[in-house]
C-alpha cells in the first residue's frame, strides 16, 4: 500500500525536475549536460583533430571550404537528486504530524525523480550520522522508496543545522530538503549545502496549530528536541509576539535560500498534494 494513489501516480509521473544548474554525472542518463557527448542534441562546430571520430565530420563544410570540421553534440547524464527528510522530534507535531506530511511529500517528490530517470538518493536528516541510502533508479525502485519513506520515525537526535553541516560528500545535485526549518541556526547551515555545489529546494512543513497556536494560560513550554523549557503566560500579547517571531524566522530562512539560488516552498501539514503541486512546485518552477 503506497502513500500515493494510482491517480496521483499517473499525474505525477509526467513531471520532471527542472534544476537551474546542470550537473555532470558518471552515468549516462536522460539529462543534457554542459559536457560534449554523444547525444543527438547538436552543440557546436570545431576543427578536426587527429583521432576524432570521422562519423562526426561535416562533409558539407569540408567540400565547401576545404577544411575538415567536426560537429560536436551535448552529453546526456542522469540528474543526481537527493531527497532529505527531517526526522527530528520537532517533526512529530500536529495532526497530522509534520513528519507524516513530509513522508507524503517525500514519496511524491521521489516518485517524480524515479519517473524522470534521475538518480535518487534518500537520507534522513537528524539521524546520527546522516547516511545516504543507495541510489535508486527507475520506477522499479518506487517500492524501495516507499519502504524507506514509511520507515521514517521522528527519532532524530541532531538539530537540523548540525545535521546539514555534517552531510557526507556527495556529487553535486538537486537536494530536496523537507523540514520544518525550526532551528535558529538553520539559515547558516543552508550555506554549507550550496557550498558543496548542490542546488537546494526546500519544502518547509509547518503545522497549522504551529502557525496559529491555540495556547492559553500559564505554561511551561518544553522544546521537543533540546528539552529546554520556557515559562510563559499565554495570552493575546504572547501569541502576537510568537507569530511575529515565526514570520521573521521564515523570512530569514527564505532570504537565505534565495541568496543561495535555491527555492523555498511552504507546505502546511495536511495540504493536499494537488495544492502542493499547483501552488508550490509549479509556482516556483521546480517541476514541469
Amino acid at each position: 500500500m503506497t502513500i500515493l494513489t494510482p491517480s496521483e501516480m499517473a499525474q505525477w509521473e509526467r513531471l520532471r525536475f527542472t534544476p537551474r544548474k546542470t550537473f555532470s554525472a558518471r552515468t549516462r542518463g536522460e539529462r543534457l549536460t554542459r559536457q560534449k557527448g554523444t547525444s543527438i542534441e547538436f552543440a557546436d562546430y570545431r576543427d578536426y583533430s587527429d583521432g576524432d571520430d570521422l562519423r562526426h565530420l561535416d562533409w558539407t563544410i569540408l567540400a565547401r571550404l576545404g577544411r575538415p570540421t567536426i560537429r560536436t553534440y551535448q552529453d546526456e547524464a542522469e540528474l543526481p537528486v537527493y531527497l532529505a527528510v527531517d526526522v527530528s522530534p520537532s517533526m512529530n507535531f500536529g495532526d497530522p504530524t509534520k513528519l507524516e506530511h513530509a513522508q507524503r511529500l517525500a514519496e511524491a517528490l521521489g516518485f517524480i525523480a524515479l519517473a524522470g530517470g534521475d538518480r535518487l538518493q534518500t537520507m534522513a536528516i537528524g539521524a546520527s550520522p546522516v547516511q545516504p541510502a543507495r541510489p535508486l533508479r527507475g520506477r522499479g525502485s518506487f517500492l524501495v522508496l516507499h519502504d524507506w519513506v514509511t520507515s521514517l520515525r521522528p527519532n532524530g537526535t541532531r538539530p537540523l543545522a548540525q545535521s546539514l553541516s555534517r552531510l557526507p560528500a556527495l556529487a553535486p545535485g538537486l537536494l530536496l530538503l523537507i523540514s520544518d526549518g525550526l532551528d535558529p541556526e538553520a539559515a547558516g547551515a543552508l550555506r554549507s549545502i550550496s557550498a558543496r555545489g548542490h542546488e537546494l529546494a526546500m519544502v518547509q512543513v509547518l503545522s497549522p496549530i504551529e502557525i496559529d497556536p491555540d495556547l492559553e494560560g500559564d505554561l511551561r513550554l518544553v522544546d521537543s528536541e533540546s528539552g529546554a523549557a520556557v515559562e510563559i503566560t499565554a495570552h493575546s500579547q504572547t501569541l502576537q509576539i510568537y507569530k511575529r517571531n515565526l514570520e521573521e524566522h521564515c523570512r530569514v530562512l527564505a532570504e537565505a535560500v534565495n541568496k543561495l539560488g535555491g527555492r523555498l516552498l511552504l507546505s502546511p501539514a495536511g495540504q493536499p498534494l494537488d495544492d502542493f503541486l499547483a501552488s508550490g512546485l509549479r509556482r516556483v518552477g521546480l517541476v514541469e
Binding site: 494560560g217 511551561r220 513550554l221 522544546d223 520556557v230 503566560t233
Partner: protein, 616 residues
C-alpha cells in the same frame, strides 16, 4: 485621626506577610511540548502561587492585594475622624427661635444658620442615635420627641419659623433635662446667641450641655421703650427710648407717624451703649402713633419699629395688693391693657385722705384687708372695706353658689357652678350694692357703681377655693377688669398694645360669633369663641394684628420692646443656674470611617479580580 481599636493594626503584619509569602511560592505551570521554544517570548505574569519558593517579584496584583488588606485592617481598627456634627446615643437640641435670632449678621439670619447646623447634626447621627428638638420661641414646645427617624426630623425642622418674641430658655432647658437628664452620655445642645435672661432652677443632670454660639455682631439700634401720657391740655406726650447696643455710635433716622401721617423725622446719633429718649407731642384726637428707625447696618429689623394705640393703651394702671397669688397675677397679666404694679401694702400716697391724686385706676386687694384708696375702682377678695357695698355679718363655711347672673357683663361666660369654697365672709349687700352671685349663706359677689366709683367684692379668698383652677376664672378676671376700668372689649375701643409673644384675650360680641385674626404678613386665622373669649397666643411677630368679626374690628399693635432680645451681642458663655457654659466655636466630633474604607477595599478587590481574570 484616632483609632478606636488601634491594636487591630498589628494584624497588618501577619496578613500582609501571608500574601507576600504566597507570592514567594512559584507557579506550577502546565508542561506543553512544542517544536521549538526559541520563537516564544519569555512573557510571564504570576497570578497564582502554588509551588516552592521563588524570588519575590513585585506585581500590580500584589500591590492591590496588600492595599485591600491594609484597608480592611484599618477599617477593623475603626479610625475616627474629627468632623462637624454630633455623635451620641441621645441628643436634645434646643433651637432659640426668639427675636434676636432674626439678626442678619450671619447670612441669611442666625435662625437659618442654627437650622443649618441642626441639619448637619441630624445628618451626622449614626444608626440608633436618637435626637429630639425643642423650640424655645414665644412658646416652648417639643418639635419632635426623641427619635431616630431622620426624615421626620428634617420634615419638622423645615417647618420652623423664627419669632419676634422673647423666649423662656429656662423652660426649654428644663424640658430637655426632663427628657435626657437621667441618661449619662446624653447631650443637650443649645443653638442660640445667648440673648435671654439668666436661667435659674435648671440642672442638666447626667447630660452634657453644649452651647453652640450663633452670631458675630452686636450692631443693633432698637426701640426699647414706647409709652404715651396724657397732658393737662388734652394732648398726648409720646415717649420713645432708642438704645444703641453696639460698641460704636450709630446714626439713624427716626420717623414718627401719627395716624399714618408723618409727623416728624429726626436724624439722631446714639452713643455706644446709651439710650436716647425722644418725645413727641400728639394731638388728643390722635388714635395711633408709630416710630420707624432707619439705621444703616442694623442687623435686627424687628425692633426698629413700634406702634402704640393712644386710647385704651397703657391708661389703666392697676395695683395688686397681695401677699402673693400666682393664679391672680397670671390672669391679670393676660390683659394687655393693664399696667400692673404689685405691693404687699397700699402705698401711703394712694390712701384716701392723703394729698394729691392717685396714680392707679384700680386697686385690687387679694387676701389682705381692704383700705380706702384714691383709685376710682377697687376689687377685693374676701376682705371688706369702706368702699365696698357690703356689711360683714359673720363667717360662712363651705358655702355653695346657688345662683348667679349669667347675663351680667361680669359673669358672662364664667360659670360658677360647683365651685368649692372653704370659707367666705358672710355679708349683706348695701342698697347701692348689686348682688351678682348668691350663696347658701348670703351674697358672694357684689358690685357697686356709685358716684363715679366702681367696686367689686368677691366674698372669699381665692386660695380658699378651687375657683382659680376653673376655666371660668380667667374669663371672670377679664370681665371684671373691663367692667372696673370700663376699657377693652367694646367695638368702639381703639386698639391694644401688646408685646410680641404675649397672649391677649378678645371678647366676642356674642357667644360663638366668628372672629378672624389677620396677622402682619396678611395671613388669617379663625379664632375659637366657643367660650365667648378668644385667646390669641400666636402674636409672635411684630406688627399690626387685626381681630375682626360681626360688629367688631380691633387692632392690636405687637411690639418687641425687649432689651434682652435687642441686645444681640452673642454671648460667649451662658449663665445656667450659676454655671457658666462656654460657647463652642464648632462642634467637632469623632465619626467612624470604617464604612468607606470597606467600600474602597471592595472596589479594589473587584479591580484586582478583573485584572486577574483578564490576565488568566
Amino acid at each position: 485621626m484616632e483609632f478606636q481599636s488601634s491594636a487591630m493594626l498589628w494584624w497588618l503584619l501577619p496578613t500582609a506577610g501571608v500574601i507576600i509569602l504566597l507570592y514567594l511560592l512559584k507557579m506550577r505551570r502546565r508542561d506543553v511540548r512544542v517544536p521549538a521554544v526559541f520563537l516564544w517570548p519569555k512573557l510571564t505574569a504570576d497570578v497564582r502561587a502554588n509551588a516552592p519558593i521563588q524570588k519575590l517579584r513585585i506585581s500590580l496584583l500584589l500591590i492591590l492585594q496588600l492595599l485591600v488588606v491594609a484597608l480592611v485592617v484599618f477599617g477593623l481598627a475603626n479610625p475616627l475622624l474629627r468632623e462637624r456634627g454630633l455623635r451620641g446615643k441621645t441628643t436634645v437640641l434646643i433651637l432659640d427661635a426668639s427675636a434676636s435670632m432674626s439678626a442678619t449678621d450671619v447670612r441669611p439670619t442666625r435662625f437659618e444658620e442654627a437650622r443649618r447646623q441642626i441639619e448637619t447634626v441630624i445628618s451626622s447621627l449614626g444608626t440608633g442615635d436618637r435626637c429630639a428638638l425643642i423650640e424655645a420661641g414665644a412658646n416652648t414646645r417639643a418639635i419632635f420627641p426623641l427619635t431616630a427617624d431622620k426624615a421626620r426630623m428634617r420634615a419638622a425642622l423645615i417647618r420652623l419659623r423664627p419669632t419676634d418674641a422673647p423666649n423662656d430658655m429656662g423652660e426649654a432647658l428644663r424640658l430637655a433635662a426632663a427628657l435626657v437628664g437621667q441618661d449619662s452620655g446624653a447631650r443637650i445642645v443649645v443653638f442660640s446667641d445667648g440673648s435671654f435672661p439668666a436661667v435659674t432652677n435648671f440642672s442638666p443632670g447626667k447630660a452634657d450641655l453644649i452651647f453652640e454660639k450663633i452670631g458675630t455682631s452686636s450692631r443693633n439700634l432698637a426701640v426699647t421703650a414706647m409709652d404715651v401720657g396724657a397732658s393737662p391740655d388734652g394732648s398726648f406726650q409720646l415717649f420713645v427710648g432708642i438704645h444703641n447696643y453696639d460698641s460704636h455710635p450709630m446714626a439713624t433716622t427716626a420717623t414718627f407717624q401719627v395716624d399714618g401721617q408723618v409727623a416728624d423725622s429726626r436724624s439722631l446719633t446714639v452713643p455706644a451703649g446709651q439710650t436716647l429718649g425722644q418725645t413727641l407731642r400728639i394731638p388728643g384726637t390722635a388714635r395711633k402713633a408709630d416710630i420707624q428707625l432707619t439705621t444703616p447696618g442694623d442687623i435686627l429689623p424687628a425692633d426698629d419699629h413700634a406702634t402704640i394705640f393712644l386710647q385704651g393703651a397703657g391708661t389703666v394702671h392697676a395695683l395688686l395688693v397681695s401677699s402673693g397669688d400666682l393664679f391672680l397675677e397670671r390672669a391679670l397679666a393676660l390683659e394687655p391693657s393693664i399696667s400692673l404694679d404689685r405691693a404687699p401694702v397700699v402705698p401711703e400716697t394712694e390712701l384716701a385722705g392723703t394729698s394729691g391724686a392717685g396714680s392707679y385706676d384700680l386697686v385690687i386687694f387679694d387676701g389682705v384687708p381692704a383700705q380706702a384708696v384714691k383709685a376710682p375702682a377697687v376689687w377685693s377678695f374676701g376682705w371688706v372695706g369702706t368702699q365696698f357695698p357690703v356689711t360683714v355679718s359673720g363667717l360662712s363655711t363651705h358655702p355653695s353658689v346657688i345662683a348667679w347672673k349669667r347675663e351680667d357683663p361680669l359673669l358672662r361666660y364664667a360659670s360658677l357652678q360647683n365651685i368649692l369654697i372653704e370659707k367666705a365672709t358672710k355679708v349683706q349687700a348695701q342698697p347701692e350694692g348689686r348682688v351678682l352671685a348668691e350663696g347658701t349663706d348670703g351674697p358672694l359677689i357684689v358690685t357697686s357703681d356709685h358716684a363715679g366709683r366702681r367696686a367689686l367684692f368677691v366674698g372669699w379668698s381665692l386660695l380658699d377655693s378651687d375657683f382659680p383652677l376653673r376655666p371660668a376664672f380667667p374669663i371672670f378676671v377679664d370681665n371684671a377688669l373691663h367692667w372696673l376700668t370700663d376699657s377693652g372689649s367694646s367695638a368702639a375701643s381703639v386698639g391694644l398694645n401688646v408685646h410680641a409673644g404675649q397672649p391677649f384675650n378678645m371678647t366676642a360680641p356674642s357667644l360663638g360669633s366668628p372672629l378672624t385674626l389677620t396677622m402682619p404678613d396678611g395671613e388669617t386665622q379663625s379664632l375659637d369663641t366657643s367660650t365667648g373669649v378668644a385667646t390669641v397666643r400666636e402674636a409672635d411677630r411684630t406688627g399690626l394684628y387685626v381681630v375682626s368679626g360681626p360688629g367688631l374690628r380691633k387692632e392690636v399693635a405687637v411690639n418687641l420692646l425687649n432689651e434682652t432680645e435687642s441686645d444681640v451681642q452673642p454671648r460667649l458663655t451662658l449663665d445656667l443656674s450659676g454655671h457658666a457654659v462656654a460657647a463652642h466655636s464648632s462642634m467637632l466630633t469623632l465619626s467612624e470611617t470604617w464604612r468607606p474604607l470597606v467600600l474602597l477595599a471592595l472596589a479594589i478587590l473587584a479591580l484586582e479580580w478583573w485584572i486577574f481574570v483578564r490576565r488568566s
